[in-house]
């Protein structure tokens, strides 16, 4: 793989207009990745899902060179209907279109060559891979006291042109004081057997509110990894919702640093899997100062050889008194071939805190099914009703009504 990496790296940046300093930095990240390699079972964070093995068996040899010289045509049918929104469209890893037509131009700024801090990016080998190959490093800044009027939808679209490729996408967001942004990620894949590696970074200043909804619904055989980093200042709020169901493999990692007082983070997720799919959510919420709050709720429904993993960690530093941390993961295993693994972790160094976690997994409650069936529904309907109720609990945590309804129709839940 090493030769391939170096060859593809040179090919990618041969005609690039980046200055030599930036290329050298990218090279540094490349070398770091070459040294560490793809993560495998020997790493604690990958204990339940061995990525190097999965890529080897599912994809085989990866190509890291992504031809982005020619533009792709955007099929208008990909756009979400029934909701006015701004959009950023990625096709096969190339930014095709940025459309912020509902917003005031001077309140939003997009810079293409954002240079993020070198040390803060050395998070893990996959982020290093991303740093090395990501073509553009966008930074979207929301200016002080401005709230986005309409949601911003980022389309991650891939078509059949690519196969056995590694795509690296990267977006940075900075929300200045007293701003708000609703961000929806739609993963829309027509390609097969690719490894898509996404890195998001959010900086939330005082009183900023960010809501991020990640939707992976369409069935596809791609392998996905996404790392999201939050830095939260005083009184800021982040809400993340992950709907993980479409890809063959998807691992979402969220690292959240609550740096300012009264900042809070909410992470909710649904893993609805079938057909040998393997999805994982790993969270790391760091309470670093007083009076911060975090809440996590992850629910899984598994059938037909599917595997789900939830690894959640709440860290409370010794300065973070009055922390309120909560974590709950539940799973329904519909068949014997399925598997649910959880590692809910607490690491606490302050005494005046309220932290708890819970995890439960099992089958559908036969008594409940019997109760519903005795009222005239058949077995299938009863099962559906129970599962819908189980998942609705998470969906109701979504604070944005429009998005909530959108997601409900997407997965066909009626109330």
């Amino acid at each position: 793989m090493e030769k391939q990496l170096i060859k593809d790296f040179e090919k990618s940046f041969k005609n690039s207009n980046l200055d030599s300093e930036k290329i050298n930095l990218k090279k540094e990240f490349l070398n770091k990745f070459i040294k560490e390699g793809l993560p495998g079972k020997n790493l604690e964070n990958w204990k339940f899902s061995d990525l190097s093995k999965i890529i080897k068996t599912e994809i085989g040899d990866l190509s890291f060179y992504n031809d982005i010289s020619s533009p792709n045509k955007i099929d208008p049918s990909i756009y979400l209907k029934g909701m006015e929104h701004n959009s950023i469209v990625f096709i096969n890893g190339r930014v095709e279109k940025i459309n912020l037509k509902f917003e005031e131009i001077d309140k939003v700024e997009i810079s293409e060559d954002f240079q993020s801090d070198k040390t803060s990016l050395d998070i893990n080998s996959l982020v290093n891979l991303n740093s090395a190959f990501a073509e553009k490093n966008f930074l979207l800044t929301v200016k002080e006291n401005y709230s986005f009027k309409k949601p911003l939808v980022v389309y991650h679209y891939t078509n059949k042109k690519i196969k056995s490729q590694n795509l690296n996408l990267r977006l940075n967001f900075e929300l200045e004081k007293n701003t708000s942004l609703k961000l929806i990620d739609v993963l829309d894949d027509f390609s097969e057997k690719n490894f898509i590696n996404t890195f998001y970074s959010f900086k939330l200043n005082e009183d900023a509110i960010l809501k991020n909804y990640k939707l992976d619904i369409k069935n596809n055989s791609n392998i996905k990894y996404s790392f999201t980093n939050f830095e939260q200042e005083k009184n800021s709020l982040s809400e993340t919702f992950i709907l993980s169901s479409g890809s063959d493999f998807n691992k979402n990692e969220i690292n959240c640093n609550l740096n300012g007082n009264y900042s809070s983070a909410f992470v909710n997720g649904i893993l609805s899997l079938n057909k040998k799919k393997h999805h994982e959510i790993r969270t790391n919420v760091n309470h670093l100062t007083e009076s911060t709050k975090s809440y996590q709720l992850i629910k899984s429904v598994l059938e037909n050889n599917a595997r789900a993993v939830y690894q959640g960690k709440i860290f409370v530093s010794s300065d973070a008194q009055k922390t309120d941390g909560y974590q709950l993961s539940k799973a329904i295993l519909l068949e014997d071939t399925t598997e649910f693994n959880a590692k809910p972790e607490l690491e606490i160094y302050a005494d005046d805190v309220k932290c708890s976690h819970g995890s439960a997994s099992g089958s559908l409650n036969e008594n409940s099914i019997f109760y519903i069936m005795s009222r005239g529904l058949n077995y299938k309907q009863a099962k559906e009703l129970l599962i819908n109720g189980f998942l609705l609990d998470v969906i109701n945590k979504i604070t944005d009504e429009d998005v909530k309804n959108l997601i409900k129709t997407m997965i066909g839940i009626k109330e």
């Binding site: 598997e339 693994n341 959880a342 972790e345 005494d351 805190v353 997994s361 099992g362």
Partner: protein, 486 residues
């Protein structure tokens, strides 16, 4: 209002209590194996214990394996590198070269030591009904109530004696739960284990009394590597207690024991530990490294193994008493209180491996950390594909006192069977001001109030202990936290 003198006397009392009660050492001449770890030492140990050849071969095999194994490093408490060549692997009181035939032949100094510890070896003076096997440094000193047990066919003796008298049982079961190749410290133990207890309860027998072992490390620079093997044959029941102390020394001492339990069809084993090894002084100097491997195998149908532990001592405690639930309908239980104060560190928990159908497990863990200490609950619940209709319930609560200590929970939960149900919950909190205020209002001082609340917090676990131990454990809980509030 308190007068000054009463305050002074109270302080003195606290000072006295804070001191480790079992910190004395006994001046007894010892026979030691040469320092260091090599084949010679293993042969020396095997030879002095007159072991059969198969056991020596077994030990040597473990030693060969040890050479390629690395010390694990995933645990939370880190410790300075141990120089395994700088330890004595065998230390025995000199008067023991020929094992005494009866209690009258025991070195009076030893008897005195056990008297100080509160272990009544002389049967006639005993009031309560517990058979004791006392292990001093490396060898088993005396076993009481032997006759009464023999009547029922129960074998309760030191493992060295069992190797001589019941080699077929030892050979069959030794290493069957913790294999030779398991992990570094278990393998080290297999290579150099010196003594420990052996229990065999024949089919259908309900052991009429509590069996108990008392471990004491006396000599300096020694590691204690004891090995305990308990076999409960079909339909039998046994309750086993274990207590430990060590003198106060500035250097750290290693204690790496292996405990294997085997429960056959319909058998039940209840294993209780009150661990009070020397925890080091208040600055974290000295103390025992307690790296113990404890594992139980529910081999037969409807068998049950229950672990109860109160961990208050040791500089570092690192152990996970586990249950392998192989037989259908078998039950595993784990009740634990771990208290860390000053600079103590504990990384403890359990593993429940569900293999058989309708297996059940229950984990109740209570962690209390104070001072500069660190407490970790680390546990695994693994429900395999074939373990239909299995149940697990886990509850781990932590209590923190002060913001210099830490409390961590690291559970691994694996479920591969849709017919099984798993529930896990954990909370971390501190003693609420309201509770303290309420108690103080009713005339308790702050330390008494904390003691009361903590005992309430631990009640679920303390209830599981046999009567005699429960009282001791309750006192220990109070003493361990002395001086941590206010």
């Amino acid at each position: 209002m308190k007068t000054e003198s009463s305050q002074n006397s109270r302080e003195k009392e606290i000072e006295k209590l804070k001191k480790y009660k079992y910190g004395f050492s006994t001046d007894i001449e010892n026979i030691k194996a040469p320092k260091g770890l090599n084949e010679e030492v293993i042969r020396f140990i095997s030879n002095i214990k007159k072991e059969p050849k198969w056991l020596l071969d077994w030990r040597l095999k473990a030693y060969q394996r040890l050479k390629v194994l690395k010390e694990p490093n995933w645990q939370k408490p880190k410790y300075p590198k141990i120089n395994y060549q700088d330890l004595y692997y065998y230390s025995a009181p000199k008067s023991f070269k020929e094992k005494p035939k009866s209690l009258d032949e025991l070195d009076p100094k030893l008897l005195e030591t056990y008297k100080k510890l509160g272990i009544p070896l002389q049967e006639q003076k005993r009031l309560n009904n517990i058979a004791v096997d006392a292990v001093f440094d490396s060898v088993s000193v005396a076993t009481t109530f032997k006759d009464k047990l023999t009547e029922k066919g129960i074998i309760f003796c030191s493992i060295s004696e069992a190797i001589q008298k019941h080699p077929e049982l030892v050979r069959k079961y030794l290493g069957s739960v913790i294999p030779l190749t398991d992990h570094f410290f278990a393998t080290l133990n297999s290579a150099v284990f010196t003594d420990g207890s052996f229990v065999y309860v024949p089919p259908g027998v309900r052991c009429p009394m509590e069996l108990s072992t008392y471990f004491r490390i006396n000599a300096s620079d020694t590691g204690q590597f004891e090995r305990t093997l308990i076999i409960a044959d079909k339909g039998s029941y046994v309750s086993y207690l274990e207590g430990c102390t060590a003198p106060m020394r500035d250097e750290n001492q290693l204690h790496a024991a292996n405990v294997e339990l085997i429960a056959l069809d319909d058998a039940e084993i209840k294993y209780s530990t009150v661990q009070n090894w020397y925890p080091g002084d208040k600055d974290g100097k000295g103390g025992i490294y307690n790296f113990v491997t404890k594992r139980g195998l529910c081999k037969g149908k409807n068998s049950k193994i229950s672990w109860t532990q109160v961990e208050t001592g040791s500089a570092i405690t690192w152990k996970y008493p586990s249950c392998i639930l192989k037989g259908d309908n078998s039950i595993g239980e784990f009740y634990s209180i771990a208290i860390t104060n000053n600079h103590q560190k504990a990384d403890t928990g359990t593993k429940m491996i569900h293999l058989g159908k309708n297996t059940k497990s229950k984990i109740i863990s209570k962690g209390i950390s104070a001072g500069f200490s660190d407490m970790t609950y680390r546990g695994l619940v693994d429900i395999s594909k074939k373990a239909d209709n299995s149940r697990n319930y886990t509850q781990c609560d932590s209590l923190l006192m002060g913001n210099k200590c830490g409390a961590h929970t690291v559970p691994y939960i694996k479920n591969k069977n849709s017919g099984s149900n798993l529930a896990h919950e954990a909370t971390t909190s501190k003693i609420s001001e309201e509770q303290l205020h309420y108690c103080q209002q009713r005339g308790l001082n702050s330390e008494e109030a904390v003691g009361l609340i903590v005992n309430g917090f631990c009640k679920e676990v303390l209830q599981q202990l046999p009567m005699e131990f429960a009282v001791e454990a309750q006192k220990l809980v109070g003493i361990s936290l002395e001086g941590s509030v206010g």
